[in-house]
Symmetry: C2
Subunit: 221 residues, 2 copies
C-alpha cells in the first residue's frame, strides 16, 4: 500500500516548516493542505481536537500532532536516507534538549518583537537576543547543530530564520551584528533543497505581519 501523507499547515508557521522539511529530507510525497486558522476546517478540528492547531501530519488516516513529535515520527517511520536524530542515546537526548529549548523560549520572545510595544517589546527583544546567543554558543564552530550533518535541531530552528528579517524590521536591530555565526548557519541551511522548498520568502512574511496584527487585534501604531 502506498503511504497517504497529508499535512494540515499554514504557510508562515515555523512549526509547520519543520514538518515540511523533515518530509522533504525523507523524500516523502505529501498532500499539503493550507488551513485558515481563523475559520478552522472540520478536518483540523477532527484531527487535532485537543489543541486545534497546525501542523497536523496525517499518515494513512492517523493524525500526529506537535511538530517536534512529527519530526521524530517521520524519522522512525522512514528510517532510510538521512537520519534526522543521532542514534546514540546521549546525543539524542542533547538534540531533544535543544529542540525543547527552542520551543520553550524562541517563539514567545520573538512574538513580542512584532506583537507588543513599549517595555514589553523591549523586553522581548532583549530576551530574544539572549536566547539566540545561547543557541549560537551551542552551535559554536560546527557546520550544523549536530556536527557535520543537518538534522533535528537545525530543523527545529530554521523556520524562525525565515522570520529573522521581519524581527529585524519590527525590532530595529541587526541579528547578524549580534549573532554572525547563527546567520552563517542559516545561510548554509537554506542552501539545502529541503529547506529552500519549505521556507517562505522573508519579504512575504514582512508583508504578513501587519495582517497578522490586525487578525489578532494587536494595535501597535
Amino acid at each position: 500500500m502506498a503511504d497517504e501523507v497529508i499535512l494540515l499547515d499554514f504557510w508562515p508557521s515555523m512549526f509547520g516548516m519543520r514538518t515540511r522539511i523533515a518530509l522533504e529530507e525523507k523524500n516523502v510525497k505529501f498532500d499539503y493542505r493550507e488551513q485558515d486558522l481563523w475559520n478552522k476546517s472540520p478536518i483540523l478540528l477532527e484531527m487535532n481536537p485537543v489543541h486545534k492547531k497546525i501542523p497536523v501530519l496525517i499518515h494513512n488516516g492517523n493524525p500526529v500532532c506537535e511538530s517536534l513529535i512529527q519530526i521524530e515520527y517521520i524519522d522512525e517511520v522512514w528510517p532510510s536516507k538521512t537520519p534526522l536524530l543521532p542514534s546514540d542515546p546521549y546525543q539524542r537526548a542533547q538534540a531533544k534538549f535543544w529542540g525543547d529549548f527552542i520551543d520553550k523560549k524562541v517563539y514567545a520572545s520573538a512574538r513580542l518583537i512584532w506583537g507588543a510595544k513599549g517595555e514589553e517589546h523591549e523586553a522581548g527583544k532583549k530576551e530574544f537576543i539572549e536566547i539566540l546567543k545561547t543557541l549560537e554558543s551551542e552551535l559554536g564552530d560546527k557546520t550544523y547543530f549536530g556536527g557535520e550533518t543537518f538534522g533535528y535541531v537545525d530543523i527545529a530552528l530554521i523556520g524562525f530564520y525565515s522570520w529573522f528579517e521581519a524581527y529585524e524590521k519590527f525590532g530595529s536591530f541587526s541579528i547578524e551584528a549580534e549573532c554572525p555565526k547563527l546567520i552563517a548557519w542559516g545561510k548554509r541551511c537554506v542552501e539545502r533543497e529541503s529547506v529552500a522548498k519549505s521556507l517562505p520568502d522573508s519579504e512575504k512574511i514582512i508583508k504578513f505581519v501587519p495582517e497578522l496584527r490586525k487578525k489578532l487585534g494587536i494595535e501597535i501604531e
Copy 2:
C-alpha cells in the same frame, strides 16, 4: 564499568518523581542528591547551566536535563526489563503527545490553585479540572494510559497525583467527584513499588505549601 548514576532532585517535584520512577522501573541504582532551589549548588549550575533546574540525571558524568527527555533516555540506555515507551512509532508519537500535553497544561493551572487568589485562583481551578477531564477521557476504561502496561504517560502524570490532596485542600473541591476514573488510576499506580518508593506523602506536601508560598513571596491569607 559500573554505571554511575546521580540524580539532582527536590523531593516535592513532580518532574523529579518521573525520573525516580523511571530509574526504579529499570532497577537502576542511583545516588539521589537533594537540592536547595533557593541556594543552588555548584553541581546544579554546572550540570544544567541553561535552565538551572532540577531534575538533572547525570550518567557517567554526562548530564541529561528535562524530565520527559530523561524518561526516554533511561528507556533507551536500559532497554531490557519493562519498556516505558511503545515500540510502534505511531503509539510512541501518541504517548509523547500526552506527555507534552501534561507538561504544557497541568503544572501551570495547578500552580494557580495553591499560588493565586481571587479570579486567578478560580480560573486555574476551572482549567485544571478541564485538563484532568481531557486526560480522564484519554484514559477511558484502560488500566494505564498505554493499555495494560504501566509506562511513559503514567510516569509523566503520576507525580501530580501526590499533590492532588493539596490541590483539593487549597482549592476546596473534590477531584474524585470530578474524575473518578483518574483517581482509580492513581490508586492503581501507587500500588507499584517504583511509584510508592518515589512519591512523597500527600500530608507532607500539604504542609510544604505554606512554606513554598513564603519562599516565593506569595501572600494568600
